[in-house]
């Protein structure tokens, strides 16, 4: 998850040819990751419909700029905790898309050997403490991680939704982190709904006033613009790393898909959906790269083609991977030396 590692890989992937500036190259890499996340989600959905991904799928399409913008502000020894809607966070962390997809279709080659599935996936090598299926569990895990990280100057990031802000974990952990001055960045991805319930209906007084009441510094950012997210995250991470204690960042975003496995009712208007479609984070990044950084359309198209090829390969490899065998005896406890 080191910026060094990531930028090398990203630059190569983006086909960097030196014709645009450094910032443009960095954002081309971020755009590529966003496209990868989007197409990964599309793939997951198509596999879910074919019965190859199981249970439920909580896709993050529309929210890619948040994961990518924040992850790019972190170093190799920082830590991330995410939710059941965590594919974007995992990929932005640098988790192998192959191992991730293999996990989602339950294969032995999955990042957790097929044990975890989407809602419980862990990749410590890339700094992902885990995805947590209990609302609030992610920010809680990040709070705990920060207790360990404060010794080393690193930062823990907890991603969570607007719905989690009404929950016990949020309040107790944020207060705990503030009392102990823990290096944790809380990133609230406010997509306007918790399942089918609008945020306003269950969050009187709004979101950021709550951490602010605990004396935690807050900021709000447009979650559809990866530049804005990244800038806000850099600032927040710097404050946290400097010993300022917890920080709360609210990113306003939107999910383009159903909550999980098909929504039982229509709770969002066509106009609202369309309005947010107009603010697609991928389109915004493309447009900015073209307009502000002079990136040519051909280069952007090549990026998409490149991701398409990656996705196709991911898919065929994953479907060819073996399922784990139930005949292996698994010990209940971790051994003395792990």
């Amino acid at each position: 998850m080191s910026p060094a590692k990531r930028s090398t890989k990203d630059a190569a992937a983006a086909g960097g040819n030196g014709q645009v500036g450094e910032e443009a190259e960095a954002y081309l890499a971020r755009l590529r990751t966003m496209i990868l996340i989007r197409k990964f989600e599309d793939l997951v959905q198509s596999l879910f419909l074919r019965g190859e991904v199981y249970g439920s799928t909580h896709l993050c399409s529309g929210q890619e700029a948040v994961s990518v913008g924040v992850a790019a502000a972190l170093g190799a020894d920082d830590r991330i905790a995410a939710t059941y809607r965590g594919h974007g966070h995992a990929l932005a962390c640098g988790m192998s898309p192959q191992k991730f997809l293999d996990e989602l279709i339950g294969r032995e080659t999955g990042i957790c050997g097929g044990r975890a599935g989407s809602m419980n996936v862990v990749d410590l090598e890339h700094g992902l403490i885990g995805c947590f299926g209990i609302v609030g569990g992610s920010l809680a895990a990040a709070t705990g991680a920060a207790l360990a990280l404060r010794r080393t100057g690193n930062v823990a990031v907890g991603f969570f939704g607007d719905g989690a802000v009404n929950q016990a974990y949020f309040y107790e952990c944020a207060n705990f982190a503030r009392v102990l001055g823990l290096p944790v960045l809380y990133v609230c991805e406010n997509n306007g709904y918790g399942e089918y319930t609008p945020t306003e209906a269950v969050t009187p007084g709004g979101i950021v006033g709550r951490p602010a009441a605990l004396d935690i510094p807050v900021s709000q950012v447009d979650g559809q613009d990866v530049w804005a997210v990244h800038a806000a995250a850099l600032e927040a991470v710097a404050e946290v790393r400097a010993g300022g204690g917890p920080f709360f960042l609210e990113a306003r975003t939107y999910r383009y898909t159903d909550h999980g496995r098909g929504d039982p009712i229509k709770y969002r208007s066509d106009e609202e959906m369309e309005e947010w479609r107009q603010r697609d984070p991928i389109d915004i990044a493309r447009t900015r790269l073209a307009a502000e950084h002079g990136v040519e359309a051909a280069r952007l198209d090549a990026l998409v083609a490149d991701v398409d090829a990656e996705i196709a390969e991911l898919r065929s490899r994953a479907l060819a991977a073996p399922f784990p065998s139930p005949d292996v005896t698994v010990p209940e406890f971790a051994p003395a030396e792990a």
């Binding site: 439920s56 044990r115 089918y196 319930t197 139930p326």
Partner: protein, 331 residues
């Protein structure tokens, strides 16, 4: 004869009790407008009004204590914990407030509340959306735990739970929601809590189980019958209090007991059944044991999850492999 779907049976019970008694209310996360993530409760809000059927924030602890406090003050709240795994967040109110109040207050007020919740694996939801948390509450005096296996029982038990004057955890197995069964209208309106039902008579072995385990056990019993083993199958229906009398009566006849539980072997309710029967019927017992899951979290991957759960095949195997019960020459 009409078909009744399990999920519809729950709906009917709620609808009828809401209509019968205005002190009944129903709330939970996305249960009202959206009708619940398992689509069990659509339309109840429109039928009974948004004061009595309403959505809440994601706050399981607040939900539970809201039920407790309102029950003590005269309502009969029913609320939903979407996945039973989330009971861990609501535990304090149920254990330290609701369950103890009747006793500690010296009987000043009962606590008539019901928590409906979806339990169980097999849906590929992974370790933290598949548990059956009965054991977490098994040693909590004052609580009842109901675990229906059929649509008709689900309806009669839920109605009885709502009318019961004690806190009741009402478990709905996810794999049963879409189960339909014939009902002919002669079913009793209420199924009493704490009473088991013998769903298959047999002479060689008693299988005691609940929820999906009843269907799996009946299927296993049919297969075992072809091998010459005649199983009696008991649907416990309520996990707390357990109808040990019914199991004991059966064991007096068969001399052998297998308890099938979906959940970890160690510490589950199956152990409680085995212990109670051993204490009481030791002299008559030729064998007793449990079939449950390994002591591990439930895995996600289909072959792992399928092997993990104690389904029909596993029951047949467990009986065949256990010495003593097979007739001469079979096996």
């Amino acid at each position: 004869m009409a078909e009744l779907e399990f999920r519809k049976a729950i709906w009917q019970a709620l609808d009828e009790e809401l209509a019968r008694d205005e002190n009944v209310i129903f709330f939970g996360e996305d249960v009202a407008k959206a009708g619940g993530v398992f689509q069990v409760t659509p339309g109840l809000r429109d039928r009974h009004g948004e004061d009595r059927v309403f959505d809440t924030p994601i706050s399981e602890l607040a939900l539970s204590t809201a039920a407790f406090g309102s029950a003590v003050c005269g309502l009969r709240p029913v609320f939903e914990i979407m996945f039973a795994d989330f009971f861990a967040l609501a535990m304090d109110s149920l254990v330290n407030q609701a369950a103890k109040y009747w006793y500690l207050s010296n009987g000043q007020a009962p606590v008539p509340l019901v928590v409906r919740s979806a339990v169980g694996g097999g849906g590929r939801f992974g370790a933290i959306h598949s548990q059956v948390p009965a054991p977490w509450f098994q040693a909590i005096p004052g609580l009842k735990i109901v675990a229906p296996a059929t649509p008709a029982h689900a309806k009669g038990l839920l109605k009885a739970s709502i009318r019961d004057n004690n806190p009741v955890l009402f478990f709905e197995h996810k794999r049963l929601y879409s189960l339909s069964a014939e009902v002919d209208g002669s079913e009793p309106e209420l199924v009493p809590l704490g009473s088991a039902e013998t769903v298959r008579e047999g002479s060689d072995l008693t299988i005691a189980t609940a929820m999906k385990g009843v269907h799996d056990s009946l299927a296993a019993a049919a297969e075992l019958a072809t091998l010459g083993i005649d199983c009696e199958v008991i649907d416990l229906r309520t996990l707390r209090p357990l109808d040990i009398d019914a199991v004991a009566a059966s064991v007096e006849k068969t001399g052998r007991l297998l308890v099938v539980e979906e959940g970890p072997r160690t510490g589950g309710w199956a152990g409680e059944v085995v212990a109670s029967i051993s204490e009481r019927c030791l002299g008559r017992l030729d064998d007793c044991w449990r079939l449950a899951t390994d002591d591990l979290p439930l895995p996600y991957s289909p072959p792992l999850e399928d092997a993990f759960l104690p389904g029909t095949e596993a029951i047949v195997r467990a009986v065949r492999e256990r010495g003593g019960v097979m007739p001469e020459g079979a096996a």
